[in-house]
Point group: C2
Chain length 291, copies 2
Amino acid sequence: MDFKKALKDKQQLINKRLEELLSYVDAPQIIIEAMKYSLFAGGKRIRPILCIAVCEALEGNLEDVLDIACSIEMIHTYSLIHDDLPAMDNDDYRRGKLTNHKVYGDAIAILAGDGLLNYAFETLLKVIKRKNDKRFVDAAFEIAKASGITGMIGGQVIDITNVGNIIDENLLVSMHERKTGKLIEASCNVGAIIANRYEYLEITREYSKNLGVAFQIVDDILDVIGDEKKLGKSVGKDAKNNKPTYVTLYGLEKSRELAKEFSLKAVELANKIDNTGFLKDLTKYLLNRES
Amino acid sequence: MDFKKALKDKQQLINKRLEELLSYVDAPQIIIEAMKYSLFAGGKRIRPILCIAVCEALEGNLEDVLDIACSIEMIHTYSLIHDDLPAMDNDDYRRGKLTNHKVYGDAIAILAGDGLLNYAFETLLKVIKRKNDKRFVDAAFEIAKASGITGMIGGQVIDITNVGNIIDENLLVSMHERKTGKLIEASCNVGAIIANRYEYLEITREYSKNLGVAFQIVDDILDVIGDEKKLGKSVGKDAKNNKPTYVTLYGLEKSRELAKEFSLKAVELANKIDNTGFLKDLTKYLLNRES
């Protein structure tokens, strides 16, 4: 199948299921609305797609993994809402749309983030209840570790406490590894776990690490040379906010070389997981993006 | 055993275990410090004590329930940190100490809250992994529902979106039922679930509902007539913030009568759960408090 078509199909599948998961919840209308606003603000669904792609490549069941993949997207979305708050990165736009707090105010934005994080775990626990199988517990625990203080939240702490600082390579790598790398890694690992192919965890870990680093370097490069219209956000933000990036550490040329190096490695590993070519195409798509 | 002594023993047990659970976590020091600051800011540990008390009264195992009880306290603490933020209730003091954001700034306070919520679920999932028993999944799911958008977060949404509004009895009751009632109820239900006495869930629900309502009315009364030194926070805050309360709705006398009515019912139900008298004494203690 054509890659772009397959990608779009997966995005639609995730959107439809997210819509269902957020329906029929007995909660104040405004909080559901605020959660949905960010959940359906045009995200590329990279994490749930990686999760589903790995699971399917290893002959796992789509129905088994779909709600878990959606939970990962909820967690990713909550982290964006909180990161955008005035107290954090103070961003007015994301993906070309007003950020959550610009529409609903800071209080509802904080609660919408809390709500999405909590609802992700509620969804995971509902799956565990329904399935009664160790794999689902392992998957949920993998996600909890990745999104917590040792993972994503810890990375955000390193980020906001080092604004304006000159940091060394180790801290920069550690920050990104935690802030974006861990949840990407968990997405891939969960795919293998739900497919009951634990023997692939070493490869999914290695794959997602290379993908994560390459992805971050591309992100940093796009913040310098990207097209604002395509990105849907202002460029030059890292420099303006005195944020340490791969580009400030290595310069543009060396960053490009590094991105290429990690990308090649990621593509090589993608082929070891998935012989249909989808994961390879997805990897290339993510690393050659302009937005 | 003397009630006060038994209560103190349980508080110490919870504090010790919380301390252990927060040790040896590979996370940036500042986030652990901020989480611990609020976790050890003098909370009475009402929810975990209720959880343990119900479990023990129904002959459940303390070791089985302790980490779950601690997770509930983490969730309660995160909700206080976020509620105190300038974007929400904007409180400088809680229990006589500076609030989290006054010490660590808004960004770290938001992340400390996120961190505690995530770590609560990480802890619950670790228990589920270790125990491999349906009871622990049921307990975690009960907590997730209670703390989420249909429960605690939903209650906070009703609260902040009705500042300055005159609301009717139904909405006031629904707000408190969600904001504080649901997590108190979950604490008691989880005690029965871990003791594997599901047949007690009807009574624990009924007990905690009466306890929750009485507790909230006492809270509202104390905000009007309480002693600032004993409370560790300023009184008259609800009125200043235009918050609807039982006292604004019913007046002081009627509120006192209502508190007494719900308290008596709660004590009666406590005796059905626990024949040692501890839960009864705890109920009386919570409803006759001055802080």
